[in-house]
């Protein structure tokens, strides 16, 4: 092993890779822009759709209720509902999404109410449809209010206090610090995105530096040089690792910046509304879920050996291929192998234990979730870091071994 040679190979591969559009895409452009795109693009579209749905006054139909003119009139006066004339095919109209919901007022409802108890009111809706859901909650609110008013009136009639039916109040308040909320909200998704970007960042340089070189015929040229093969592998491997790490670091940076920018936008635009809501009035800026920077540093540290593992594994697999295309068909399915444990780690209720701490990728996903919400289980962290290093070292040894095999390097 000769450090000077390794460095020479690395520098050349770095220069070469920086001139390759495919690698640049996966190493720099996608990781830099995927998070802002997700935060602003998809987030904004989603928020816009929901707001639009909320702003729409849902059309509803009243079925029956001819002998309950008071309730029907009150419903018609509700500004948050648009009562449309009832058709015979009202169920069909709900299915066709022409009407958001319908409410069935049973015969003799008002009379029954006066006498003591009435039959049930039934709300018909289209389950799972957002706008139908809004209509239902408006209708429910209307009838809940009606029930409350009836109860209050009855209590007043009998001169009884309101506390008779409502002996105590129930409220909830959040005590978690903003960064803890952020950890729980983002804790699942951040490691997931980092793991995937770490992989895709390594993918294109790895294929280009192995199968790509074989295909273009430069591998044989390189092997003619007096540099030992182990130096060639390590130089190339360092480049692949650079791809992986740059994807990760760039995505983390842009994630942090876009979270900050989103916080500023929310703090500016939504400030008035938030301030109006008395319970959430505590400084609009800090209410934004924040990521704990120390936790983020921890994540970077834990990802390092996994980036080595990914780089070495992809390198080895791609080395076996004769062409870039063949390498792609081997490496692309590996993304699913990576995604599965990463997704499992996102699921709520799966917590670290000694056995899971030895499962590669899943252990990373789990420990990152903990770190981001401020939990530091040092023994697990040590176990995961240690085992990741062992896997990474093993994968790197395998890469060196494969590079020394004639049937792999000259596979035809």
């Amino acid at each position: 092993m000769n450090l000077h040679n390794i460095f020479t190979v690395y520098l050349k591969e770095l220069k070469d890779t920086l001139r390759d559009r495919r690698s640049l895409m996966s190493m720099i452009i996608i990781p830099t822009f995927v998070m802002p795109a997700l935060t602003f693009g998809v987030g904004k579209i989603a928020a816009g759709v929901v707001n639009k749905a909320r702003e729409e006054i849902p059309a509803v139909m009243i079925v029956g209720g001819d002998d309950s003119p008071g309730v029907a009139a009150a419903l018609r006066q509700d500004k948050k509902l648009k009562v449309v004339p009832t058709g015979a095919d009202w169920k069909q109209q709900i299915s066709d999404k022409k009407v958001r919901a319908a409410v069935l007022i049973p015969a003799g409802f008002e009379a029954g109410l006066k006498a003591g108890a009435a039959d049930s009111v039934v709300i018909y809706n289209y389950d799972g449809e957002l706008k139908s859901g809004f209509a239902v909650s408006e209708l429910e609110k209307f009838f809940r209010d009606l029930r409350d008013q009836t109860v209050t009136a009855r209590l007043a009639e009998r001169a009884l206090p309101a506390t008779l039916v409502k002996p105590f109040d129930l409220r909830r308040e959040n005590v978690a610090a903003p960064e803890k909320v952020g950890g729980n909200l983002l804790g699942g998704i951040v490691p997931y995105i980092i793991i995937i970007l770490c992989f895709t960042g390594a993918m294109y340089p790895a294929m280009d530096l192995t199968a790509g070189e074989k295909e273009r015929g430069t591998m044989e040229t390189l092997l003619c040089s007096p540099v030992a093969r182990v130096d060639l592998v390590l130089g190339k491997f360092l480049m692949v690792l650079t791809g992986s790490l740059s994807a990760m670091l760039l995505s983390l940076t842009s994630m942090g910046l876009s979270a900050m920018a989103a916080g500023m936008m929310l703090g500016g635009g939504g400030g008035a509304k938030l301030a109006a809501a008395a319970t959430q009035a505590k400084a609009a800026g800090t209410a934004m879920p924040m990521i704990d920077p120390v936790g983020l540093l921890g994540v970077v540290g834990m990802v390092l050996p996994v980036a080595v593992l990914f780089s070495a594994v992809i390198f080895t697999v791609a080395l076996f291929a004769k062409s870039y295309k063949e390498a792609q068909s081997y490496v692309a399915p590996m993304v699913f192998l990576i995604i599965m444990p990463a997704v499992v780690g996102m699921l709520p209720g799966i917590d670290l234990n000694a056995r899971l701490a030895l499962v590669p990728i899943l252990n990373l996903s789990l420990v990152c979730k903990e770190m981001l919400s401020g939990i530091w289980h040092w023994n697990y962290i040590a176990l995961i870091f240690g085992s990741s290093c062992v896997y990474a070292a093993f994968a790197l040894m395998l890469a060196v071994k494969m590079f020394n095999r004639e049937d792999v390097i000259f596979r035809a």
């Binding site: 273009r216 015929g217 430069t218 040229t221 000259f410």
Partner: protein, 253 residues
């Protein structure tokens, strides 16, 4: 100086079992001479040359190149060898200068030495015009010149050419042939593989005819002509490999 003694290389193939690509081949190439390795496709030329350039390890037998054993000191062998083949390509995203500089560095040369060497080679090969352009935009002639400069950057004592004119146009092929001759004139040991008879006649001091991995005949051109009683090199070759039928059978494998 190249000395090959009983060089043998076998491969495992899933369908065909064990294949002996090079079978007990021995020969010697001396400095200031061109040794031509003549053979049909699949005769074992490329494998033999790859063994000498230490890209592959022999299954048995020995070879020394410029005094170093190919198995025990492969790095030292490669430091003495310039290897040019139709399959040794250039890095398309590097310029010619960067390409040559990279191989100078891999050969452990210092930066000033590399600079001086590039200046010298670029003048000699008339490369100044495209020295700082990227290789992927080159014509085949420019590519060959850059490849030649790449093999010569460390001024090796031994040159190995594996069908260097394969797929080249006439002008570029002629330039390569004259370059090979130039190497001999400078006292380098040259080994040259080809299946083109006219190149052998033009270039080679000694010819080894290889067939089915075995060296079936060896000698200077006059010696071979006398031995097989033919003037035409192609007839000599066909007789040496055991007639047309043997050639056809070998090509089928």
């Amino acid at each position: 100086m190249i000395e090959a003694q009983h060089l043998t290389k076998t491969f495992k193939d899933k369908k065909r079992g064990v294949i002996t690509a090079v079978d007990d081949v021995s020969f010697t190439c001396r400095p200031g001479q061109i040794y031509g390795l003549l053979g049909a496709n699949g005769a074992g030329k490329t494998t033999t040359l790859r063994l000498l350039a230490t890209l592959l390890k022999p299954s048995s037998g020995h070879a020394t190149v410029a005094g170093y054993d190919v198995e025990r000191e492969p790095e030292k062998v490669r430091a003495q060898v310039g290897f040019l083949a139709a399959s040794t390509a250039l890095y398309g995203r590097l310029t010619a200068r960067e390409m040559i500089t990279y191989f100078g560095r891999l050969n452990g040369m210092t930066e000033p030495t590399i600079k001086a060497r590039i200046q010298h080679l670029a003048a000699e090969l008339d490369m100044a015009e495209f020295l700082d352009r990227r290789c992927d935009k080159f014509s085949t002639g420019m590519k060959q010149k850059t490849s030649i400069a790449r093999t010569l950057v460390h001024d090796p004592a031994v040159m190995i050419f594996d069908e260097p004119t394969l797929g080249l146009d006439v002008m570029t092929a002629r330039a390569i042939v004259s370059f090979v001759r130039e190497c001999r004139n400078r006292g380098k040991t040259v080994i040259y593989s080809t299946h083109i008879m006219s190149e052998v006649e033009k270039l080679c001091d000694t010819v080894g005819i290889i067939h089915g991995g075995r060296l079936v005949a060896e000698g200077t051109l006059p010696e071979l002509r006398a031995r097989f009683g033919e003037q035409d090199m192609e007839e000599v070759f066909v007789k040496a490999v055991g007639g047309e039928a043997a050639l056809v059978a070998a090509l089928k494998n």
